[in-house]
């Protein structure tokens, strides 16, 4: 056994898209302890509810994160709707779910690209991002924005999608599915990918449950929890929704779970488009939250469960807005998975939890 050394990792590191700092205590090539540190990009967005009214805060909520921007605006809008008892028409709920599932596809494709880049498969990275661009084009055509969509308002959605356009989107997604299978084939069946990921960063089901893991990270350790099962909004009308699980618990299982979730999202969109009702898209609510009213809500973001809490004070501004994002849940599991790994596997393990530090710090 050699002497323990501390290697600083991040906040600027080639594999990290986000500023996360880790102190890795290593003995020879093996990591024995990991001390995470965040706080490089805290922006104080929760405090802004005092300055921006409930309708303006949607645009702030969207900017919490660039990848799950639609999810945050949706989660915030649903919470405030609960606070004021606003009914949202079914069509608007379906459209919200369709956009949310599209953003899940784009987030997972982005992550698969970054993952491929981390284990050094440059061509796979480029192909993942090429497919992701098709999803962004759908966003651009339906909402007018590529990343920041501004499509939700409190009480409904801002734009309707024509039925013909919805069917065109489904056709486009079916077209993407073929190419996506080829990419998945490289992820799941390629020897070089398996040699970097199989057995790396193992987390057992007990550990994942004890550390309260969420999202694909937990589901790869066989924790059957997905907020979509709760059936809020359009999710309630799905015929049969089962979370995708794997009992292997390593980095390879996390890749496989995410790869299967993209296909699941395409199926969800297809099903919802086939039974979308025509009862309007709702309009901006004119109510204000009552003094002392409280509401909370959970939403399955691409990275896992995100919790929202809001409290009104009788004015058009909220008294308090609180979010707990999936990454802050998953950091503990990441530290656990890193313990005992090889130094060269650290980037892969960090990326397989899909860290979003800007979400985490807000």
């Amino acid at each position: 056994m050699g002497k323990a050394t501390v290697i600083p990792f991040g906040p600027q590191h080639p594999v990290l898209p986000e500023p996360l700092h880790l102190d890795l205590v290593v003995e020879d090539e093996r990591v024995i302890e990991v001390i995470p540190q965040i706080g490089f990009i805290h922006r104080g967005l929760e405090k802004l509810v005092e300055k921006r009214d409930i309708h303006q805060f949607i645009y702030v909520a969207e900017r919490i994160c660039g990848i799950c921007s639609f999810g945050h605006s949706l989660g915030y809008a649903e919470t405030v709707e609960d606070l004021m008892g606003v009914e949202v028409p079914k069509r608007a709920q379906y459209l919200r779910v369709i956009w949310h599932e599209l953003s899940r596809i784009h987030s997972h494709l982005l992550w698969m690209g970054l993952g491929a880049d981390a284990f050094g498969f440059e061509a796979l990275f480029m192909h993942c991002w090429r497919l992701r661009e098709r999803i962004l084009d759908i966003f651009e055509a339906t909402t007018g924005g590529r990343v920041i969509l501004s499509a939700v308002n409190i009480g409904g959605v801002n734009r309707d999608i024509e039925d013909s356009e919805l069917y065109a989107i489904v056709d486009k997604l079916e077209g993407i599915r073929g190419e996506y299978h080829e990419i998945c084939n490289a992820f799941v069946n390629d020897y070089s990918v398996a040699s970097r990921l199989v057995g790396v960063g193992y987390l057992s089901q007990e550990e994942a449950e004890a550390l309260c893991m969420v999202g694909p990270f937990a589901r790869a350790s066989n924790v059957a929890y997905d907020c979509r099962m709760l059936g809020r909004g359009g999710y309630g009308d799905l015929e049969n929704f089962q979370p995708i699980l794997s009992d292997e618990g390593d980095c390879y299982a996390r890749v496989k779970v995410r790869a299967a979730e993209v296909e699941q999202s395409i199926d969800i969109i297809k099903e919802l488009v086939s039974k979308i009702p025509h009862d309007g898209i709702g309009e901006k609510s004119k109510l204000t939250p009552a003094d002392g009213a409280m509401a909370s809500n959970v939403l399955e973001q691409p990275r896992g469960e995100c919790y929202y809490f809001a409290r009104g004070n009788g004015t058009k501004n909220l008294d308090r807005m609180r979010m707990r994002t999936p990454t802050s849940q998953n950091l503990a599991g990441m530290v656990k998975a890193l313990e005992g790994c090889e130094l060269a596997d650290v980037p892969n393990i960090i990326l397989t939890i899909d860290p979003c530090i800007s979400c985490c710090e807000r």
């Binding site: 661009e133 501004s150 990419i183 084939n185 020897y191």
Partner: protein, 148 residues
């Protein structure tokens, strides 16, 4: 399990058209509903200032006295809140992005002031309306007196 699983796709992209465009020499076609920048049909605008109140970034300034409406393209986040709130529907989102610039300046529009002749015509119209109303009132009172 095997290797070179991405070979077909890579070969295809070797001979296919590139996915990227040579910006700024080439540009992609903009979709119809793209939120590029806000524009105001100043003829329709009544300078009510609702857009200024609703804007989350305080990018819009309306001065009713001076008759000006201005938007700071560098503050604007293209959320479209002003467009949805406008009571006269004079605001629209145009599908082109704000051009890059060396200095951050706001774009100001002046509400066209009516000319002397237009003002005179409006005043004359008002006078005529008042005179007609007065005449009608006198006729009504005369009719009442006759009835009594």
């Amino acid at each position: 399990m095997g290797s070179f699983k991405l070979g077909k796709m890579t070969l295809r992209s070797l001979f296919g058209k590139p996915e990227t465009v040579l910006y700024p020499v080439q540009t992609r076609p903009m979709p119809e509903g793209l939120k590029g920048h806000v524009s105001n049909n100043i003829e329709e605008c009544i300078l009510c200032g609702i857009c200024q109140k609703r804007c989350p970034t305080e990018a819009i300034t309306v001065d009713k006295k001076a008759g000006t409406w201005s938007v700071d393209g560098f503050r604007c986040i293209q959320c479209g809140a002003c467009v949805r709130e406008c009571p006269k529907h004079s605001l629209t989102m145009e599908p082109t992005y704000t051009a890059p610039a060396a200095t951050k300046t706001a774009f100001t529009m002046n509400k066209p002031q009516p000319s002397e002749e237009e003002l005179a015509a409006k005043a004359a119209e008002r006078e005529a309306r008042i005179a007609a109303a007065k005449a009608a009132k006198a006729a009504r009172e005369a009719a009442k007196e006759q009835d009594a």
